[in-house]
């Protein structure tokens, strides 16, 4: 976090809904060129990218959001956030090794595909609100720990670690 009362986020706009990812979870990003398909049996982990001779498995967050929120959009997801495994929990890494990415030992980062229309923004922490009490546990478990209500749009804060492990994505 960059201060006590504000935070830098990646901000992806999908019209009446937007998504925020804490920038501390995304230290680097690349443009998704020459994506290589992978056979994993997982609908959101089925591609990889070679970055400077390093294999980076891709998690397609954009497609997951399209499915979960029933968006119909032509927005592409050519932007890839590179997240080192050191920022992921043991639980998430175990899930990946035992599930869609058995060859995880050969990698050190995961790529997360997000909307090409993603920008960096600084927001005040006051703008983030907890979920309504009875929905809180379910949404937090699935990687949406808070909301960002704005005039004309509802935003969801995304916890990358939780959203990867919390949405199994079996075909």
């Amino acid at each position: 976090m960059s201060g006590h009362d504000s935070v830098h986020v990646l901000y992806s706009d999908y019209g009446a809904t937007h998504f925020l990812i804490n920038r501390d979870q995304c230290p680097a990003s690349v443009y998704a060129e020459e994506v290589i398909p992978m056979e994993t049996g997982h609908r959101f982990f089925n591609e990889k990218l070679i970055v400077n001779n390093e294999t980076v498995p891709l998690f397609n967050l954009h497609n997951l959001l399209l499915k979960l929120f029933r968006f119909k959009t032509d927005v592409k997801s050519q932007l890839v956030i590179l997240t080192p495994f050191t920022l992921l929990s043991e639980e998430t890494l175990s899930y990946l090794k035992e599930g869609p990415l058995p060859e995880l030992e050969n990698c050190r980062r995961i790529g997360v595909r997000v909307s090409s229309e993603t920008i960096i923004k600084q927001i005040s922490l006051d703008e983030l609100k907890p979920h309504s009490r009875r929905l809180r546990s379910r949404l937090k478990k699935s990687g949406f720990p808070a909301v960002h209500p704005m005039e004309g749009s509802m935003g969801y804060l995304i916890d990358l670690d939780r959203i990867i492990a919390g949405n199994k994505g079996k075909r």
């Binding site: 309504s132 929905l135 749009s153």
Partner: protein
């Protein structure tokens, strides 16, 4: 009948009248509103605000009777579609009732507001039927010979808690 007897009866009748306690009936205020083509009621004191139009934003992982979030003064309110809960058939509504729920932010999607009525105790009663839907009503009121169900908000919230726990 002798006059004395008549007087006795009249006087005793009068005294009886004096002995009868005049009970004052209590009245309660209810907000009556439409959901689809049916009227429902809530104690007026349980309703914080009526919003005539508010956008509702989709929320994933919730039961189908949760229409989404409404943004009221920068706070997310969970919006219930009770027709979906009762009849598995969503309503086309644009009004929201913001409820006074002490531990949560809850709103009901309704078709329209009807009126606020003052109902005497004698016109408020419990339900005798115990079908699946009646569990969501805390009773009924009788307004101009029409029975209107009173929503039992606590029971509706319990159902949501149960469904969220199971999901």
């Amino acid at each position: 009948m002798e006059n004395d007897e008549i007087l006795n009866q009249i006087e005793s009748g009068k005294s009886e009248e004096h002995d009868v306690e005049v009970k004052e009936e209590s009245f309660y205020r209810y907000l009556v509103f439409w959901i689809g083509d049916q009227k429902f009621a809530l104690p007026a004191e349980d309703v914080q605000e009526i919003l005539t139009y508010n956008e509702i934003y989709f929320v994933p992982f919730v039961p189908p009777y949760i229409r989404g979030y409404a943004n009221r003064h920068g706070q997310p309110y969970t919006v219930f579609d009770l027709l979906m809960l009762f009849e598995n058939n969503g309503i086309e509504g644009s009004h929201l009732l913001i409820l006074k729920v002490p531990d949560d932010q809850i709103a009901l999607l309704i078709s329209d507001v009807d009126e606020i009525v003052k109902v005497p105790d004698s016109k408020i009663y419990s339900l005798t039927s115990h079908d699946e839907t009646s569990q969501y009503f805390s009773g009924a009121i009788n307004v101009e010979e029409t029975e209107i169900f009173i929503l039992g908000v606590a029971k509706i919230l319990e159902r949501l808690e149960l469904d969220i726990e199971r999901s």
